[in-house]
């Protein structure tokens, strides 16, 4: 805290800034222009802080002990490479989606959305996501989850139309359940170890009875698995996401599930590094990939189709995590970055398609390639990226995963390799089917050619498409950054040493202010 100009100053900003801005935006609910300015400025600052952390964390985890209380007595925010990367990508994506939604006029009540509440809620969502990424404390992670979930409930049911309330009920009930499971897991972790500080847990959990460890790990996995939409726990997702406004769906699809994946990466590497449930994770990854993509193939609504590919591709990340090796983890991290970008882009572009063609149903769309060639390109690039066509970033991430799967060479990893290739092909099939129907088939109903896409909506969508392409260009540096991030995660010492520099139990003997020791 002493060095005001160090990287440590940046760490709390992604959480504090949007929270303050949310309050301000709420206070200024009558002035929509002021609200817009506040949101854009805040997210830009968050992005800047994220980039700063990206540089700062490359030298080692940046730790902030909030309130000046050293860990494990106080709460800490920890920005290691993984957190910094996630903060940067998520801020950028959220900024693009915000600009898009400004143009769409969701914020201005065009879609029966209450004017005043959109911006504060969106900022609270940003704060929750950042808090989850930065948290160095299990309970603070729970608080981060609750912040982002509460905001997501509001955004999902924006306007309170019948369809959104229907989808919202399912989403909220499932999310509430997962929160309670997480809470129970925290209570049990505390009962077993007497701490909720992640770094301290990392040193204490290995001393706990292995059976108890497995129970704790399973509970946390179920809680995070619901949030990340891993196969048997994923049924809620395709029913709730598609009904929300396009930008909201985009940001949910891009970020919320990835927060769950991030939490799984963090707990798997830091708290349970001995790989007890890796086989289970591999099975789950395989089922998530295959079942998810079979669901996508059966859909004839683009939004639902994309929701199923979202579930399916979560399987790739779980695949990377379950390999429990540096190459596997780095591929998973790279894939998370790629997938956040691509999935968000696709949902934004589908918003454009809906605006241009008047529907997202593949039975009603058609001939868009002729009337809107630009839109066709905007859809085509991220779609091919999602399917993993070389040389796009989806291909690079998948190659990393496949290489490590083959290198480990057990029957299960081979099954995963085959499963992921199959999933990739089926993704291509599903997405090409969508492409053929929406862009090439003769339009079943005459399209209204007078609709012009607002430049403000096309701009951010194009920026994200370009960013997705850019991931290929900077794939070298980005992949090596992911590798370094994975190395920090897998060695298990860097994180603990950064948070507890005097050794894990040094604080016990230290005199506590006012206490008699």
């Amino acid at each position: 805290m002493s060095d005001l100009y160090g990287y440590a100053t940046l760490v709390p900003l992604p959480v504090v800034l949007p929270l303050f801005a949310a309050g301000l935006a709420l206070a200024l609910w009558r002035h929509s222009r002021a609200q817009r300015t506040i949101s854009v400025v805040t997210l830009t600052l968050m992005l800047a802080a994220g980039v700063g952390l990206l540089v700062g964390a490359d030298a080692g985890p940046v730790v902030v002990h909030i309130g000046g209380w050293d860990a494990p007595i106080g709460i800490d925010l920890v920005a290691d490479r993984l957190s910094a990367l996630m903060i940067t990508v998520s801020s950028f994506v959220m900024l693009c989606v915000l600009l898009y939604s400004l143009a769409q006029g969701v914020a201005d009540g065009d879609e029966q959305a209450p004017v005043a509440i959109y911006h504060p809620t969106y900022l609270v969502l940003a704060a929750g996501v950042s808090n989850a990424f930065l948290s160095g404390d299990l309970f603070n992670l729970y608080v981060g989850f609750e912040i982002l979930l509460a905001a997501s409930y509001v955004l999902l049911t924006l306007g309170g139309t019948g369809e959104r309330i229907r989808a919202g009920s399912i989403y909220v009930v499932v999310a509430l359940l997962s929160s309670v499971i997480f809470l129970v897991a925290i209570a049990l972790v505390y009962a077993a170890t007497g701490t909720v500080n992640l770094a301290q847990l990392a040193t204490r959990l290995p001393e706990v009875d292995p059976t108890v460890q497995t129970v704790l790990q399973l509970l946390l996995l179920v809680a995070f698995g619901i949030k990340a939409a891993i196969f048997p726990l994923s049924a809620w997702l395709p029913d709730s996401y598609p009904t929300a406004p396009a930008p909201v769906t985009a940001v949910f699809a891009g970020l919320l599930t990835k927060v769950g994946v991030y939490a799984i990466i963090r707990t798997q590497t830091l708290l349970f590094p001995d790989g007890r449930l890796d086989d289970v994770l591999m099975w789950l990854a395989l089922l998530t990939m295959v079942v998810g993509i079979l669901g996508a193939v059966a859909q004839n609504d683009i939004k639902r189709l994309l929701s199923f590919t979202l579930i399916s591709h979560i399987g790739y990340m779980i695949f990377g995590i379950s390999l429990a090796s540096e190459p596997g983890m780095s591929a998973a991290i790279f894939y998370v970055v790629h997938h956040i970008t691509v999935q968000t882009t696709l949902f934004l572009v589908v918003g454009l398609i809906e605006r241009r063609g008047g529907s997202t149903s593949l039975d009603l769309l058609g001939g868009l390639a002729k009337v809107a060639p630009g839109l066709a390109i905007l859809f085509f690039i991220p779609a091919m990226n999602l399917a993993g066509i070389p040389p796009l970033s989806g291909f690079l991430g998948k190659v990393g995963l496949l290489e490590e799967g083959v290198a480990q060479g057990t029957p299960l990893t081979w099954a995963l390799v085959v499963g992921s290739v199959l999933t990739s092909l089926l993704t291509l099939y599903a997405i090409v089917k969508a492409w053929n129907k929406a862009f090439w088939q003769t339009p079943p109903v005459e399209l209204d050619t007078s609709v012009r896409l607002p430049r403000g909506m096309v701009g951010p969508a194009s920026a994200l498409v370009a960013f997705g392409l850019g991931l290929t260009l900077v794939a070298g540096p980005l992949y090596s950054y992911s590798e370094r991030a994975a190395a920090t995660l897998m060695d298990g010492v860097t994180y603990v040493d950064a948070v507890l520099p005097d050794g894990p139990e040094a604080w016990v003997d230290a005199p506590i202010a006012g206490g008699d020791g």
Partner: protein, 195 residues
């Protein structure tokens, strides 16, 4: 800084000072709360789901108290010797959880009310896929005879045809077999929004 001070209780993993034997009453209470909560969560009415959520949350809060070890004196330095203090951290966490539960309860209540405004009931509705399957089943009903008829003359197909699909409007089955409206909970539908 919400006050996660662990200053008082040295943690059990370190020196085993804290008596971790849980009180049987608390354990039983947690069990009952969770059982009743899970039962209610499986209901279709949002209000009941909410009650279930509240029960489970309270169970989780009690679990936190158990997790903190045996109750002791007030955790204020100077009034209670260190080794007789209660663990204040679990209480701080339970308090935070209570506040969060309160906020979410308010939200779910608002949502249930809105659902009642729109549909005249607050039941969680079937999702799109379920309704599609139900419509297919209803359309195929004449194609096969359902032998596992339950009480009365209502077949599984009849039940499927009656699956709630208000949001579908008119594109439901044209004439679902046995559309007598004998299904559970349908009485509420007609109460409607007559305000």
């Amino acid at each position: 800084m919400i006050g996660y001070l662990t200053a008082a209780a040295p943690s059990p993993a370190v020196d085993g000072v804290v008596d971790m034997t849980p009180s049987l009453t608390l354990v039983l209470a947690i069990g009952v709360l969770f059982a009743a909560g899970v039962y209610l969560l499986l209901e279709r009415s949002l209000t009941r789901v909410l009650l279930g959520f509240i029960l489970i949350s309270n169970g989780a809060n009690l679990l936190f108290l158990v997790a903190g070890g045996r109750a002791g004196g007030a955790p204020v330095v100077g009034t209670t010797p260190d080794d007789q203090m209660s663990d204040p951290l679990v209480q701080a966490m339970a308090l935070t959880a209570i506040v969060i539960t309160l906020g979410l309860t308010a939200f779910v209540l608002a949502m249930a009310y809105r659902s009642w405004q729109l549909h005249g009931h607050d039941e969680v509705q079937d999702d799109v896929e379920d309704r599609r399957v139900a419509r297919h089943a209803a359309r195929n009903a004449p194609a096969f005879e359902d032998l596992d008829t339950q009480d009365g003359d209502e077949t599984l197909d009849d039940e499927a045809a009656q699956v709630r699909d208000e949001t579908d409007g008119n594109d439901g089955p044209d004439e679902p077999p046995g559309s007598g409206g004998t299904g559970r909970g349908h009485g509420t539908r007609d109460r409607g929004v007559e305000r």
